[in-house]
C-alpha cells in the first residue's frame, strides 16, 4: 500500500515529465480504443456475413469449362441428383425447388379470360400444336423456406386448411380456389406440358390468402399475361414432383440452394458431389463476389484502422522509450538516494513499475471513455467514404458488363451483381476489446518501466550519487 501511495506522490512530484508520458500514453490508448472497437465490430460483421453468405453453395454450369470440353449438349444433372446432393453431412440445410407449367382441362387459371385451356397453343417445330400450361407448379423441399408464408410474407393459409406435407398434396391461392370453386379436400387434375406428359392428381389441403404482387411488372399485368400470375401457383412438395420421374429436359426448372454448416468445408462438399456424379462443367463455389461486395468497404475500413493502429503503436512506443530514457537521468539521483538508504533493487523496480502502471491505468480509464465516444462517428465517416469508393468501382465495372442470358433447360439460381454493401455499423466497446486495450496499456507501462529499471538498477548507489554531487 505504501508503495502505491508513494508511487502516486512520486508521480505528482515529477509532474512535468509524467504529464508528457501520460499525454503520449493517452494518445496511444484513445487511438487504440477507436481502432480496436471499429476493427472488432467490423470483423464480427465480416465473419457473420461469411457464415451467412459464404455458407451458400452455388452449383452452376461453368460456361468456360463447358466450352473447353467441346461438348455441344449441356451436361445433364437430374432432379434426383440435386436431391441426392442435398443429403450431405456438410450441409446445415438445403432449399430445393422445382417449377413447371401445368395444363388442366378442368381448372381455369386466374386472368385467363378466354378460359380456353389448351387453345393457347405453341408450335415446337414438329408441326404439332401443343397445349401450353396455365398454372405454375412449384415443388418445394422444405415448407419452412417459403418466405412468402413467413409472418409478414403476404401469404397466409386460411382457417380450415394446412400446409402440404405428404405426397400429392398441394396448396393454392384463394383467387384460384374461388375461380374454380375449389375447397379444401378437392383434387386438381392436371398434366405437364412437355412430352412425355406426366399426370398430377393433387389434393388441395390448404387455401391461402395472397397479398403478394401477382405480376412481375405493370406491363405483364396490363397484358394479363396469366402464365406469369403468381396467384396461379400450385405449391407442393419437391418429392411430389420428383416422384413423377422427370428428366431435366422436360421443361422443368430447378433451383437448388445448399448451405454449408461451415463455409470452410466447401472443397469437401465439392468432392462429395463430384463423387455423386456432378459433371466437371459444373462449378461448385461459394459466392465470393457477393461476399466481397457486401463486406468490401468493411474490409477496407478494417485495413485502414489496423494500419493506423500499427503506426500509432510503433510511433507511440518509440516516443515512450525516448521519454523513458530521458527520465532515467532524472531518476538516477532519486534511485541513488533510495539505494543509499538501503532500499533493495527489487523494491525500487516495483516502485518504478507501479508508477508506470498507475499512469497507464489512468490513461486507460480516460482513453476508454473518450475512445468509446469517438469510435461511432469515426467509424461512420470512414465506412461511408469506403462505401462511396466501392460504389464508384462498381459503377465503372457495370458499364462494361454484358448480361448473359442463359437459356438452359436446367437453370440454377446464381448470384446477381450489384450487392448492397454493409454501410452502417454499430460499434461499441465490448469486454473483449476492453481486455485487449488493457493488455496494451499494461504493455506500454511495462515498456517504459522496464527501461527505467534496466538502466537504473545496474549502478551501485555511490556511483549514482557521485555523478550528481
Amino acid at each position: 500500500m505504501y508503495i502505491l501511495i508513494n508511487a502516486m506522490k512520486n508521480l505528482l512530484r515529477n509532474k512535468g515529465r509524467n504529464i508528457l508520458i501520460a499525454t503520449v500514453t493517452l494518445a496511444i490508448i484513445i487511438s487504440t480504443v477507436v481502432t480496436l472497437t471499429i476493427g472488432n465490430a467490423s470483423s464480427k460483421i465480416i465473419e457473420d456475413t461469411r457464415l451467412r453468405i459464404g455458407s451458400k453453395v452455388n452449383i452452376a454450369i461453368d460456361l468456360q469449362e463447358h466450352g473447353r470440353s467441346g461438348k455441344m449438349e449441356m451436361p445433364e444433372v437430374g432432379i434426383d441428383d440435386f436431391f441426392s446432393y442435398a443429403q450431405s453431412d456438410y450441409l446445415s440445410k438445403s432449399i430445393l425447388s422445382a417449377q413447371l407449367y401445368l395444363y388442366s382441362a378442368t381448372t381455369f387459371a386466374v386472368d385467363d379470360d378466354s378460359k380456353a385451356q389448351g387453345i393457347w397453343e405453341s408450335n415446337d417445330g414438329t408441326g404439332e400444336a401443343r397445349k401450353a400450361g396455365t398454372m405454375i407448379l412449384i415443388g418445394n423441399s422444405d415448407p419452412d423456406t417459403l418466405t412468402d408464408f413467413s409472418v409478414d410474407g403476404g401469404r397466409k393459409i386460411l382457417p380450415g386448411g394446412r400446409m402440404y406435407s405428404g405426397l400429392d398434396e398441394c396448396i393454392i391461392s384463394s383467387d384460384l380456389a374461388e375461380l374454380n370453386g375449389i375447397s379444401v379436400g378437392d383434387t386438381i387434375s392436371a398434366r405437364s406440358v412437355f412430352e412425355p406428359v406426366k399426370n398430377f392428381d393433387l389434393v388441395v389441403v390448404g387455401i391461402y390468402s395472397d397479398e403478394t404482387a401477382a405480376y412481375p411488372g405493370p406491363a405483364y399485368e396490363e397484358a394479363k399475361f396469366f402464365v406469369f400470375n403468381r396467384h396461379n401457383e400450385v405449391i407442393t412438395s419437391f418429392e411430389t414432383v420428383m416422384s413423377k420421374g422427370f428428366e431435366t429436359d422436360e421443361g422443368i426448372q430447378i433451383n437448388a440452394e445448399y448451405y454449408l454448416k461451415n463455409p470452410d468445408d466447401i472443397s469437401k462438399f465439392e468432392a462429395e458431389v463430384r463423387a455423386k456424379g456432378l459433371p466437371d462443367d459444373y462449378s461448385v463455389s461459394i459466392n465470393q463476389k457477393e461476399l466481397d461486395g457486401i463486406t468490401g468497404p468493411l474490409k477496407s475500413m478494417a485495413g485502414i484502422t489496423s494500419t493506423f493502429m500499427a503506426v500509432i503503436l510503433i510511433l507511440g512506443a518509440i516516443v515512450l522509450v525516448l521519454l523513458a530514457f530521458i527520465a532515467v537521468r532524472e531518476r538516477q539521483y532519486e534511485v541513488g538516494v533510495l539505494r543509499a538508504m538501503g532500499m533493495e533493487k527489487a523494491k525500487i523496480a516495483v516502485g518504478i513499475l507501479s508508477e508506470a502502471v498507475i499512469i497507464s491505468l489512468m490513461c486507460l480509464i480516460i482513453g476508454l471513455g473518450i475512445g468509446s465516444v469517438a469510435s461511432q462517428p469515426i467509424a461512420d465517416s470512414i465506412l461511408s467514404s469506403q462505401v462511396e469508393v466501392a460504389a464508384e468501382k462498381t459503377k465503372a465495372n457495370s458499364e462494361n458488363l454484358q448480361f448473359l442470358v442463359m437459356s438452359g433447360k436446367t437453370e440454377l439460381v446464381n448470384g446477381l451483381n450489384g450487392y448492397t454493401p454493409v454501410s452502417e455499423i454499430q460499434v461499441a466497446l465490448d469486454a473483449h476489446t476492453v481486455i485487449q486495450i488493457t493488455l496494451i496499456a499494461l504493455a506500454l507501462a511495462g515498456l517504459s518501466g522496464v527501461i527505467g529499471i534496466a538502466v537504473i538498477t545496474r549502478y551501485e548507489p555511490l556511483k549514482i550519487l557521485r555523478e550528481r554531487n
Binding site: N6, R13, E334, V337, A340, M341, G342, N469
Partner: protein
C-alpha cells in the same frame, strides 16, 4: 550494541592505483563520539562510505557484530544498523522534508509507532519546525537541508551514526544544538557516533579523535584538540 572494527583496511578507487585508505586498523565502540579530522582529499569521506556499507574495502575487513561487511546484505545494514549523514545531503529534492523521513522509515521497516509524530519530533530536535517539515527540500536553506539529512539518518534509530561535516553549513547556535543531539545519542543512548569534521566545536564533544593524512590514520590526544 556492537563494535565496529577495521582490520588492516586499505582502499583504492576503481581504475586508480593510489591507495586512498592505507592499512587502517581501529575500533569504534558504542557509547562514544569519534571525530575524524584531516585535510581535504585525505580520505575521510571514503572511510565513512566504507563504514556505512556503501562500499567495500579493497583489502582487509570491516567487521560489525562479528561479521565482515563484505559478506552481509549491506542494503539491510544501511537500512537497519547505520544512519548516514552525507556531506552532500542526498535528499529527495522534490519531496517534502517529512516525506524524506517517512520514506527512510519505510525502507527501514520501522513499525509499531506513529511514524509521522516521530518524524516531526526528530525534525523539531534538530530545529526544523512542522511548517518547514511540509516544505519541499528545494525550498529550504543549505543548513536546514543538512539538519533534515541528520533527522533522516536518525529516523530508524540506528546503532551506528556516521556524519560527514554535519555542521558545515550551520551557525554557531544551531551547530551547538545539533552537537548536543550527537553527544546525547552517544552518551545517553549508547550509540556509536562517528563524525568527520574540521570544526573545533565538534572536536570538543569527541571521546576519541583520529587524524588522517594520505589515507593513514593516527590517534590525536583528546585534550590537545
Amino acid at each position: 550494541m556492537s563494535t565496529l572494527t577495521l582490520q588492516n583496511v586499505s582502499y583504492k578507487y576503481e581504475g586508480s592505483e593510489r591507495l586512498v585508505i592505507r592499512d587502517v586498523s581501529l575500533s569504534f565502540e558504542p557509547g562514544n563520539v569519534y571525530t575524524i579530522i584531516g585535510k581535504s582529499g585525505a580520505g575521510k569521506s571514503t572511510l565513512l562510505n566504507l563504514l556505512a556499507g556503501l562500499d567495500v574495502a579493497t583489502t582487509g575487513h570491516i567487521v560489525y557484530d562479528g561479521v565482515s561487511l563484505a559478506e552481509i546484505n549491506r542494503n539491510h545494514y544501511r537500512a537497519r544498523k547505520a544512519g548516514i549523514i552525507f556531506q552532500g545531503f542526498n535528499l529527495l529534492t522534490n519531496a517534502t522534508a517529512l516525506d524524506n523521513i517517512l520514506l527512510s522509515m519505510h525502507i527501514s521497516g520501522v513499525k509499531g509507532i506513529n511514524k509521522k509524530t516521530r518524524a516531526l519530533e526528530l525534525l523539531e530536535k534538530v530545529g526544523i519546525s512542522p511548517e518547514k517539515a511540509n516544505r519541499k527540500i528545494l525550498k529550504l536553506s543549505g543548513g536546514e537541508q543538512q539538519r533534515i539529512g541528520m533527522a533522516r539518518a536518525l529516523a530508524h534509530n540506528p546503532e551506528l551514526i556516521v556524519a560527514d561535516e554535519p555542521t558545515g553549513n550551520l551557525d554557531e547556535d544551531t551547530a551547538n544544538r545539533v552537537l548536543e543531539v550527537f553527544a546525547s545519542l552517544a552518551h545517553e543512548e549508547g550509540k556509536c557516533v562517528i563524525i568527520v569534521t574540521h570544526s573545533k566545536e565538534v572536536i570538543a564533544i569527541a571521546d576519541e579523535i583520529w587524524s588522517v593524512d594520505e589515507g593513514v590514520f593516527r590517534p590525536v590526544p583528546v585534550n590537545e584538540g
